[in-house]
Amino acid sequence: MMDVILTYIVFVPMVFAVIMGVFQVRHTFLRMGAMLSALIVLLLTLTAAWYFDPGVDGMQFVRHLPWIEHYGVTYYLGVDALSLILLLVIALLMPILHLYMWHYETKGYWYNMLLLQTGVTGAVLALDMVLFYLFWETMLLPIFIMIGRYGHDMHRIHAMKILIFTILGSMAMLFAILYLGYAHYALHGVWSFAYRDLASLPLDPSITGWLAAGFLLAFAIKIPLLGFHTWMAPAYSSAPTPALVILSAIMAKLGIYGLWRFGYGIFGKVLHLYEPLLLTLALVGMLYYAIHAITQNDLRRMFAYSSGSHLSLIALGVVLANIYTWSGSLYLIATHALATAGIFLMIGLIHQRTGSVRIDQLGGIASVAPRFAFFFMFFALSITGVPGTGGFVAELLIIIGAFTYHPWIGMATATTMLAAMLFVFWMLQRTLFGTPRSSTASFGDLTATEMLMLTPLLILLLLTGIAPSLFTPLFEPQIQAELMRFIHTAGGAL
């Protein structure tokens, strides 16, 4: 059972989508089927997490089968602490998103969401580079269709934009992947694209530098780091809410995941060449995105930039590479995903109720819809990392790590965090408080379904904030081992 559990986790949603698509089921059954598949996946993921042994280094529940034998391309899935966290986040968010979409009549939505889940889960679990590339690309397709078909505000152009940008990055990565496979062939006489095999290749740094650049381009666009971000705000503002949640809570994190797993796993030796660049982009990006967020009038765009700012912070944590920042980054991946999912879902609810997400048309929600205001404020604050929420623990760890790395960088990191506070408080003041406007005068409070949808996120954010010791044992030993391995390969270059 345990060696096929990951396969089930990846493919259950797709199988459901295919079966329901072939039989052309009615909308009522479609959404029940989708929810059922999401719950099955959640159950399987929790089982996997239960049996996951954090003390054992390396991949677990590995499934390694031949696929294209001559080229050494394999079907290779496995999970370690890093991917387990992302896997849990995905599995947890999907039922919540399905709950949000429950009244969506359009069938295409549901099929795309099911396929999207298979795509992102596969990308998290794939350990063969070609398989990873396959999932990495295919997860883009449902997003492309959802933005272009069901989005708003110039959505067709924005869908094309995110597609072109992301594929530009993946093509650069593809070249690097093919070269690595060839390098393995040239050295050992057999082709292999398995991540561990490629990680152990003794490559010439002058070549590896270029290959690393290919990978980094793909991940920098996905995260997005400063300079590679021009697709972000348009895509976020056009995407329908479920797609938006996946984009910010999961797909952007996959960029970080890629940087971490493949950037550090394969290119540990040459990554120090890019360290100053990545560090600058992440630091400046944090501030730049935060300032951009302050100036936005559209809530989606505002939190798009806020998301960019926090992803830069996570990227910074990964680049600084010590035990505080790595733990903090991993922790922030999870808590930021929960918090952004909460905030974007609530922005979606605002859109449903008022037909607008422009801040200057909102105001006074707290006086008409107190429960809504409470949840909204909670998620907004947990994005900034208020003590008591998971974000605080994570950001604290990263800031401590930044200070250990270098005091100036620690200072810079800590100050830029303040900018995030600024826009959130100002936004809260303008949307929730004051006197209700015409658009918000009859603002409906949260219904029972919506409470059911948001409460798990709230509980988890509190739990991660108050009792981090519940979660850290899950990933700490492996992160430590991974870090030792990285420092070992980098050969003291840091």
Partner: protein, 498 residues
């Protein structure tokens, strides 16, 4: 005598079929569908006879007392034959609806079609430059006539004239090259030429290389490589749909059959290297083709432009042959198969939709197609994904093999350029997907066209399924080639060459 009959049977069946159709086309009472099914029956019969011949790893000269060493039967040619026969049958069946809605198609159309396929088969079997030239001209003449088949349509006439004049001119280079080879070596048999060049090649290297390149000019012209491409867009646009599809898929396969045989036997082993020339042409083809494809609004022209680009990908692998990668030639064969499958799907859907149209279809005509015809749109989307090389389709594996073989040969720039061009192609292929899925339906106000169960539509669906299976297919089903099995077949075919 009898020993030669069975390897010769498929070719014979096709030519007999052509004459049968020519004779019965004089009977005016026969319905078009009867012609169609007779043609397909001959093609499938030949396919069935030929299929068991693959995989014996033997090279036989057929009727050597008559043909000398001109007609060779080996796995290489057999595999190509199977592709021509299958491709021809598919082209006709998928276009059945298109053909039946036009009243100017009759028996001669199918006779010409079979003559062209006969020419392709002999081209794949040709072990002699003169035989190859005759086969090539036979194919070309058939296709010239087919291109101009719509007599009362000016575009069709223009296309035929352009193709005929330029094609004949380009064909002359083949003869010129052959003549130089004969003048130096005293033979036109490819394997004997190879042996001669092996021994005395260094003395005449310049002349021999020039002769080899002259022959390649003809092949490159017919493939539509830049700078020999100027005819291609107009001809593809003007030709009737079945013929365009035939030219884009099956004819291209035939041309690479002779190109591969020449390259692998004559050019590479003997040091007659024109790789730099091919490399330059590959670069021009990739960039020029992309430019042409991007700038089109008519879909048929876009597919024509993109077929130039796909030729360019194969030229990458062709120029990699002999540079250290033994995977380049199988990669071309696999790519031909993958391009064939995906382009037949795309052209098939286009011709099915264009069956009732009076003007060339543009991107805008596909707006909201997903609401009107959800199944066809999904199949079209799959074809587009495959053509753009999106993973999980057969098109991705095709590109994967091409680029790895280029990297393996040290052609990093070409591989990088190919990947960049594949990135560019995402734009013009996904534009169609965007048109189909992103725009509301304005024409029929939400009314759906029912999925018409017909041999054409079923085959299009089958091609879509093959596209996906070829991209992710596993070896779980033992006797059925998955993604892995097809490249093995290609390797076996290449391995049968001396």
């Amino acid at each position: 005598m009898m020993a030669y009959l069975s390897p010769f049977a498929p070719t014979t069946l096709v030519i007999i079929g052509a004459f049968v159709l020519l004779i019965i086309s004089t009977i005016k009472t026969i319905h078009l569908h009867s012609y169609l099914y007779i043609t397909v029956a001959f093609l499938l019969l030949a396919f069935a006879v030929e299929l068991p011949q693959f995989g014996h790893d033997t090279s036989v000269y057929v009727f050597p007392e008559i043909f000398g060493h001109a007609y060779l039967v080996d796995d290489f040619a057999t595999l190509f034959d199977l592709m021509f026969l299958g491709g021809g049958a598919l082209t006709l069946l998928i276009n059945a609806i298109y053909l039946s809605k036009r009243d100017y198609y009759n028996g001669e159309f199918f006779a010409l079609f079979l003559f062209a396929i006969f020419g392709m088969m002999t081209l794949a079997h040709a072990n002699d430059l003169v035989a190859a030239f005759i086969s090539l001209e036979l194919t070309s003449l058939g296709i010239y006539a087919l291109t101009g088949y719509h007599k009362n349509y000016r575009g069709s006439n223009e296309a035929m004239l352009k193709y005929l004049i330029l094609g004949s001119f380009a064909g002359v280079f083949f003869i010129l090259g052959t003549a130089i080879f004969y003048g130096i070596a005293g033979t036109t048999v490819i394997s004997e030429l190879a042996a001669f060049i092996h021994l005395h090649g260094q003395e005449h290297l310049l002349a021999l290389s020039a002769a080899g390149m002259f022959i390649m000019i003809t092949v490159l012209f017919k493939i539509g490589a830049v700078p020999f491409h100027s005819w291609l867009l107009d001809v593809y646009l003007g030709a009737p749909f079945p013929v365009t599809m035939f030219m884009a898929s099956t004819l291209k396969v035939a041309l690479f059959a002779i190109a591969l045989r020449l390259y692998l036997i004559l050019y590479v082993d003997t040091g007659l290297v024109g790789n730099q020339a091919i490399t330059v042409i590959a670069i021009l083809t990739l960039l020029g083709g992309s430019w042409l494809a991007i700038s089109q609004t008519v879909l048929k022209r876009m597919l024509a432009g993109s077929s130039i680009v796909h030729g360019g990908y194969m030229l990458i692998a062709l120029s990699s042959i002999g540079l250290g990668a033994d995977t380049a030639a199988p990669a071309i064969m696999f790519y031909l198969l993958s391009y064939f499958i995906s382009s037949v799907g795309a052209f098939g859907i286009l011709s099915y939709i264009a069956a009732g149209a009076t003007r060339p279809l543009t991107y805008d005509d596909f707006k909201g197609m997903a609401y009107r015809r959800p199944y066809l749109s999904a199949m079209m989307a799959i074809s587009m994904l495959s053509l753009s090389g999106f993973p999980s389709t057969i098109g991705f594996l095709g590109k994967f093999y091409i680029f790895t073989s280029a990297i393996e040969s040290g052609q990093f720039f070409l591989a990088g350029l190919g990947i960049f061009v594949a990135f560019v192609s995402v734009y013009y292929y996904f534009k169609l997907i965007a048109m189909m899925y992103f725009y509301p339906d304005e024409e029929s106000e939400g009314e759906r066209h029912p999925f018409e169960v017909h041999i054409s539509t079923l085959l299009i669906g089958f091609m879509a399924a093959v596209t996906i299976w070829g991209g992710i297919g596993t070896s779980l089903i033992p006797w059925f080639p998955g993604a892995d099995g097809m490249i093995e077949i290609a390797r076996q075919a290449i391995g049968s060459l001396p």
